[in-house]
């Protein structure tokens, strides 16, 4: 395979644009941020801005994995932020927020053993995902409306569990999930790696991925082809709930507290953004999990960059919105047709497939 061939393959790959976006952000940092790429070893842990980005992006990466599958079925899940709040609330209230000292040394107490608390929290969020899936696949409600119900109710439920308080977790082992290190790397990265590997195996080594894509492109045709559409749609939302649950545990453990009001506020939008930055169409169909992970990293890199170069953090949102608009424009066939009309004419790029519906 010669270089030109590789170049052509790269250009036609879905990962081309997300990778380019990530490279631009990183290149920008190479020139404008001091010590961006330096990594130090302290106490056997790796420290550095890039490690920090990876670490902070973990909840978003988890959400993006679940959301990618949801969006691939032409759905959307806007309840993940509330699910995160519930996951943290359940775990925190089960582990307990009491600080006890024995002879001046902090004693580690839990109401129920930590593994049980974690399992219950994940079970609860999976059930919430199933509830979404049930409304969408069986009752036939639009995904955005069905998940809107949980979005509205979720924060109320989370506050009901925590009784309106911010529960602080003093139990040390729980903090390991979000802040611990394993083999010099943040522990949460390993969680993402495991979830990602399992998901990737399931969708690429079995027919699952193909079924999901098929449902996203045409659910009716998929049904006639013998795919049990509602079963897969149901599972996809349940999985999204599970991913949000894990992300919720990481966020909760990171700040050692559960906050029904603010945990995961607006993160559903970031998750959707990560998926679409990863080159996935929100109209469903073909998807790329790797792309979504890159999308999540792009978002976190932009956020970190803005902090690092000393721009007031409040501009983060403005920059983010401009980036979203630019990326959407690039993905829009109509925009490309209008702006790159001359190029397309010369290069003979056919856009007929993407001709706008209206």
């Amino acid at each position: 395979m010669d270089i030109k061939n590789i170049w052509n393959r790269l250009k036609s790959s879905q990962l081309c644009w997300p990778l380019a976006a990530l490279c631009i952000v990183l290149l920008f940092n190479l020139f404008f941020t001091k010590d961006f790429f330096s990594i130090e070893i302290k106490d056997g842990h790796l420290y550095g801005v890039t490690i920090d980005i990876l670490n902070r992006a973990t909840p978003l990466m988890l959400l993006a994995i679940g959301m990618t599958l949801v969006i691939a079925t032409k759905g959307i899940d806007i309840s993940v932020g509330s699910v995160i709040a519930i996951s943290g609330a359940v775990a925190a209230s089960l582990i307990g927020g009491k600080l006890e000292y024995v002879d001046g040394v902090q004693k580690l107490v839990t109401l129920v053993p930590m593994p049980v608390a974690i399992l219950v929290a994940l079970l609860a969020t999976t059930l919430l995902g199933m509830w979404n899936g049930l409304l969408i696949s069986r009752v036939g409600i639009q995904p955005i409306v069905a998940t809107l119900i949980l979005l509205v109710a979720g924060r109320g439920i989370a506050q009901l569990i925590t009784q309106g308080q911010i529960i602080t977790i003093y139990y040390k082992p729980f903090q390991y999930i979000g802040t611990g290190y394993l083999l010099g790397l943040p522990f949460s990265l390993f969680i993402v790696a495991v979830v990602f590997a399992v998901t990737l195996y399931a969708v690429r080594k079995t027919a699952l991925g193909m079924f999901i894509e098929s449902i996203g492109i045409n659910p009716v045709a998929s049904k006639f082809a013998g795919i049990s559409v509602s079963k897969y749609i149901f599972s996809v939302y349940a999985f999204s709930g599970l991913c949000a649950g894990i992300a919720g545990l990481i966020i909760c453990s990171n700040v050692s507290s559960a906050d029904g009001n603010n945990a995961g506020l607006f993160i559903e939008l970031d998750a959707i953004l990560a998926v679409s930055l990863g080159g996935n169409s929100l109209d469903g169909g073909r998807f790329s999990l790797v792309g979504s992970l890159i999308g999540a990293l792009v978002i976190q890199s932009i956020t970190t960059t803005i902090y690092a170069i000393g721009v007031p953090p409040e501009i983060t949102l403005v920059v983010k919105s401009v980036v979203v608009i630019l990326i959407c424009l690039l993905q829009s066939a109509n925009f490309r047709k209008i702006v790159f009309a001359k190029w397309a004419h010369k290069g003979g790029i056919s856009d007929e497939k993407n001709t706008a519906k209206l």
Partner: protein
């Protein structure tokens, strides 16, 4: 046959109105002092901004779109008017029209992106939401109090009504907008085109209706409504703050859905939306009168209602489809 079709179309609206009356009756039975005209009017006073913005949202939902930027636009209007009034000492008579213009242009821009570049409304308005919220923080990360005498006066002025009741100017503004919206959607060509687009955009276009222009205008109208709601909200709060009206878009969508506007487009009622807001107001008032329940029960109750309504709509639509299939 015609009578049955009519009842299908209006059944959601009737359920909403019935539910409002029922909830109000329950409140009146349970708590002393609940059954009074002023309690009813207070719901309007406290929710005037929600009524205004929900009406704009109803139009967007009828054409089958969605706009999640409205909460942020309201915050931006509050912030910017607070900044212009307090820091730049502009006259309120310049600030208010300027804000309305800004909101309309914001909506116009979003509509243009949605229509001309064929990007999903959800994503465009998501970007708009980030942008407006971000601009709030660019102006100031702290609260700016509004001390302008005109704003103060409008905020505290009470219009007396018979039987020793009163309403605020915000309610008057909301009332005028409701009437205007009712006229617009029921008696104009524009309104009919809005319904036609929601029913089936492709056939609307084949019928020669100005689909593109109407779509963009609906988003512009929604932007205008958000800006107006923002002004009313700034009368209500007398401050600008970046976290004002967080999640209000969901309340607006919920109001419209409870009021009988499905998110699939094509159907929708301005009156229903007003009652949708009022139902949320009644739930809030009930929880306030109860005293022992905390405010997060409001959210759970609204979500529960939302769920029932949506499932009900699904059942009605499914039944309608079945009768069609048999016929």
């Amino acid at each position: 046959m015609k009578r049955i079709q009519l009842s299908y179309k209006y059944i959601n609206l009737f359920i909403t109105i019935f539910l409002f009356i029922a909830l109000f009756a329950v409140g009146s039975g349970l708590y002393t002092g609940f059954f009074s005209a002023q309690v009813l009017l207070n719901m309007l006073i406290d929710n005037a901004f929600l009524i205004i913005t929900s009406i704009g949202m109803t139009f967007v939902l009828i054409i089958g779109g969605i706009d999640i930027s409205i909460g942020s636009v309201i915050a931006l209007v509050c912030m910017l008017s607070a900044y212009l009034l307090e820091m730049q000492h502009w006259s309120p008579f310049i600030v208010i029209p300027a804000m309305l213009l800004m909101g309309s242009l914001f909506g116009l821009a979003q509509g243009s992106f949605i229509h001309f570049f064929n990007i999903q409304p959800f994503i465009v308005t998501l970007a708009g939401m980030f942008l407006a919220r971000g601009l709030c923080y660019v102006i100031s990360i702290d609260t700016i109090m509004i001390t302008d005498p005109f704003y103060q006066q409008v905020a505290t002025y009470r219009i007396p009504l018979p039987f020793e009741t009163f309403i605020s100017i915000s309610v008057l503004i909301a009332g005028v907008l409701v009437l205007a919206a009712l006229y617009l959607i029921n008696y104009t060509k524009f309104g009919r085109t809005v319904y036609a687009i929601g029913g089936n955009a492709q056939s609307a276009m084949l019928m020669g209706l100005p689909v593109g222009r109407t779509k963009v205008l609906v988003y512009a109208f929604n932007g205008f409504c958000s800006a107006l709601a923002g002004i009313v909200f700034s009368f209500y709060m007398l401050s600008g703050y970046g976290l004002h009206a967080v999640g209000l878009e969901m309340d607006a969508i919920a109001s419209a859905v409870i009021g009988g506007t499905p998110l699939t487009g094509g159907v929708g009622f301005v009156t229903g939306t007003v009652f949708g807001v009022l139902i949320q107001g009644v739930i809030q008032t009930l929880i306030m009168f109860q005293g022992t329940l905390s405010s997060w029960w409001t959210k759970i109750a609204i979500a529960f209602l939302l769920c029932i309504f949506i499932v009900l709509q699904r059942i009605i639509i499914a039944r309608k489809e079945r009768t069609k299939a048999i016929a």
